[in-house]
């Protein structure tokens, strides 16, 4: 029972962390129909921002989140106005290859500046702390904070889109950019804003992740692949979809735990020999594949 409870809780928590990483990707896609391949690199920049700010000022890494958010917001806007805006004039393939190029550029720039070594924090209020909530379930403080931030960020973005004028303008731009322009909505500015918000949410996630994950210029790739799967599962452009898909993916990565639960509860010898942990990400992509075949617009997709 301990194994089952531990796996469910861990799955939900890591799911929320992954959903937070995927949030920015879904916002940008939702508004502009453009897949940002450099999303993982934004995350990496967020991690370096958190790490370097904490190291240079001596402050707790938690307080670096606003700095990372600001860096991400400005970076998102800069990328849009200086680069992506021009890509939109070209065909879809130009947009795909363009953000792919941006990914390579940012990654190699980081390699040039920081080198390829792993760097990590070893101080901070959350680093190394954990909370025991009974039934042998232990939650690391960093994941608890990340989950809390994830829920807050999703609620904030949902409110922004559904309850504010700006959100309505963003939605209008997403649904029909030309129509929105006729209605006097500054779509260019809305696009820039989507990139800004998308950039800020992922760099904040990065600054939080650096509390328990070491950073190197290639770290983005680890998270981007899963973020893509989450966005596709939840439905491209759907904010609540990204959240729920994050939880689903989190629980899928815990299948080895559920497997162990059955193995030890019913004492099944052959099950103990199956190397389930080797397949945990394969199962995530299998779920992604099935959803793409059965329901191409994802669980909560609203775009056509």
């Amino acid at each position: 029972m301990e194994i089952l409870a531990g796996s469910i809780v861990a799955g939900l928590f890591i799911g929320m962390v992954l959903a937070l990483v995927a949030l920015g990707l879904t916002i940008i896609f939702g508004v502009m129909d453009i897949v940002n391949f450099a999303h993982g690199e934004f995350l990496m920049i967020g991690m370096y921002t958190g790490l370097l700010t904490a190291q240079s000022t001596g402050m707790d890494p938690l307080f670096t989140l606003p700095v990372a958010g600001l860096v991400g917001f400005l970076l998102g806007i800069a990328c849009y106005t200086g680069f992506v805006k021009y890509l939109l004039r070209g065909p879809m393939i130009a947009q795909l290859l363009g953000t792919f190029g941006l990914m390579l550029f940012l990654r190699n720039l980081a390699l040039l500046i920081f080198g390829s070594e792993d760097r990590a924090l070893h101080h901070g209020a959350l680093v190394g702390k954990s909370l025991e909530i009974g039934m042998g379930v232990i939650i690391p403080a960093t994941k608890l904070a990340a989950a809390g931030l994830s829920i807050s960020a999703f609620i904030a973005v949902w409110l922004l889109i559904n309850r504010t004028k700006m959100g309505k303008a963003l939605t209008a731009t997403a649904l029909n950019a030309q129509g929105a322009r006729y209605m006097g909505i500054p779509t260019e500015r809305m696009n820039a804003l989507a990139w800004g918000i998308g950039g800020a949410s992922v760099t904040i996630a990065g600054a939080l992740l650096v509390n328990f994950w070491s950073v190197n210029p290639f770290v983005g790739l680890l998270f981007t692949m899963i973020a893509f799967a989450i966005v596709a599962l939840g439905g491209f452009g759907s904010v609540p979809g990204a959240f729920f898909a994050g939880l689903v993916v989190g629980l899928i990565t815990e299948i080895p735990g559920f497997w162990d639960f059955i193995t030890y509860t019913f004492n099944v010898d052959w099950m103990a020999k199956v190397p389930m942990t080797s397949f945990k990400y394969m199962m995530v992509y299998l779920a992604y594949f099935i959803i793409m075949v059965v329901r191409p617009r994802g669980l909560f997709g609203w775009k056509h």
Binding site: S116, G128, S214, F218, T277, S278
Partner: protein, 439 residues
């Protein structure tokens, strides 16, 4: 006719003589420098290790080409290769970026364009595999200094030799160490009951290296009578390892064994700490557990963790020559020799001795020298019995006299964390911390 024939014969003879003299001159020129191609990962994910490897080889080169009478090594007392008229070695470094295909291309260029006498490298076992295949095809000798996949010397290659011990040897060392603990051989602690360390778990990253280590652990555990309760393979590039940690935690192991690269080793230890896991022994198969960032990032949490290695600065306490070379290295590079740099130093030292014995740069002569050389342990900075390559048999080309050491992170009097040697028991530099005190 007679006159013209005479002139013709004279011209032909003169030309032959000139050509012969010329080729003698060229031959004399050729042995002024001996080119060796060296392939390391100088950029990419393993660039830090690549830099260490290069620095180690460069220090050995400086000693081989210069005269350092104060160092008790034959290589340091000669100036260049004495048997080749004092010829100097020249290293041509190439960066394979950890890419096996690129490694093979670079090896071809080194052989065909740079006309190297031999090859050294490549750290990544996967790159060594393709590079050694190229060397085998062209009949060019390759001495491998730093790749540990056992399969490399199980191919019966005629032009491939390896100085470093492989993972099979290292894993055997681990079980000899565990067995030794139950027999009371460890310095300063009484014999441990086997029940205390009977149950093991292994978590290894799932590329060729990790899966081979995992197999070796299971094989040796059965041989030595230990019980592997759970053995799993995981993706090193994974954003989360909590399900893996809970899987190994669920069987309540006494000893946890790992084969990890740097970032996953750090994440694994952080997750163990967060999940409040505290087995009696934690052992890592080198790589990530020996990386400087492992100790820098985890700080005091590494105290008590064991890792296999081939070199620790503490070897200097039992071997004067290691101390001398380590001081030179530290002065030059700014940090102590690592397992990587100590092995690249030793690799080039092996090349030097092989050339000295061969007295020629002909591949056949080098091959013969490799198959018959014996470098005694007192010449080496690593704590091996020496270097002697198996000339035939199942492990053809493998150094039969190499061995690993097991180090434990401990705090010294000044509070600094150092890697103390705890195995082999006879060269242990500190008392073993047992059991692991937890994070």
């Amino acid at each position: 006719m007679k006159k013209s024939s005479f002139v013709l014969i004279t011209i032909v003879t003169a030309l032959t003589l000139i050509l012969a003299m010329g080729s003698t001159c060229f031959a004399a020129d050729a042995i002024k420098t001996i080119k060796i191609g060296v392939l390391y990962p100088l950029t990419g994910g393993a660039a830090a290790e690549g830099r260490e490897l290069r620095a180690g080889a460069e220090l050995a080169l400086e000693i081989a080409n210069g005269k350092f009478p104060g160092i008790s090594m034959d290589m340091a007392k000669r100036e260049g290769i004495a048997s080749l008229g004092g010829a100097k070695i020249e290293l041509i470094f190439k960066d394979h970026e950890g890419n096996p295909t690129l490694g093979a291309d670079l090896a071809k260029k080194l052989i065909l364009d740079d006309k190297v006498v031999g090859i050294m490298g490549c750290y990544h076992s996967s790159v060594t595999k393709t590079v050694s295949a190229v060397c085998e095809q062209y009949g060019v000798p390759m001495i491998n200094d730093s790749s540990t996949s056992p399969a490399l010397t199980e191919r019966e290659f005629k032009w491939f030799w390896r100085t470093t011990p492989h993972d099979g040897t290292f894993t055997k060392d681990l079980f000899e160490f565990l067995k030794g603990l139950t027999e009371g051989k460890s310095k300063g602690i009484a014999a441990i009951s086997k029940d205390q360390i009977q149950n093991l778990t292994a978590a290894c990253e799932k590329t060729e290296w990790g899966s081979q280590v995992s197999q070796a652990i299971e094989g040796r555990a059965a041989e030595y009578g230990f019980n592997v309760k759970k053995s799993l393979l995981y993706a090193a590039k994974s954003p989360d390892l909590s399900s893996e940690v809970r899987a190994i935690k669920s069987v309540k192991p006494d000893v946890m064994l790992f084969a990890s690269y740097a970032s996953d080793a750090i994440l694994m230890m952080k997750t163990l700490k967060a999940e409040k896991v505290a087995p009696r022994i934690i052992w890592g198969q080198n790589a990530g557990f020996e990386a400087p960032e492992f100790r820098n990032t985890l700080g005091d949490d590494v105290v008590g963790i064991l890792t296999r290695t081939v070199f620790a600065p503490k070897v200097g306490q039992v071997k004067a020559v290691s101390n001398q070379i380590n001081s030179m290295y530290k002065q030059k590079v700014g940090n102590d020799l690592s397992g990587a740099s100590a092995r690249s130093f030793t690799g080039l030292q092996a090349w030097t001795e092989v050339l000295q014995l061969a007295g020629s740069t002909e591949p056949a002569a080098i091959q013969k020298a490799c198959n018959s050389i014996m470098i005694p342990g007192d010449q080496l900075i690593v704590p091996w019995k020496g270097i002697k390559f198996a000339a035939s048999g199942k492990e053809q080309g493998q150094n039969e006299l190499g061995s690993g050491i097991i180090g434990q992170y401990q705090k010294d009097k000044d509070g600094a964390i150092t890697l103390e040697i705890v195995y082999p028991f006879d060269v242990a530099t500190a008392k073993l911390i047992y059991p692991f005190k937890g994070f």
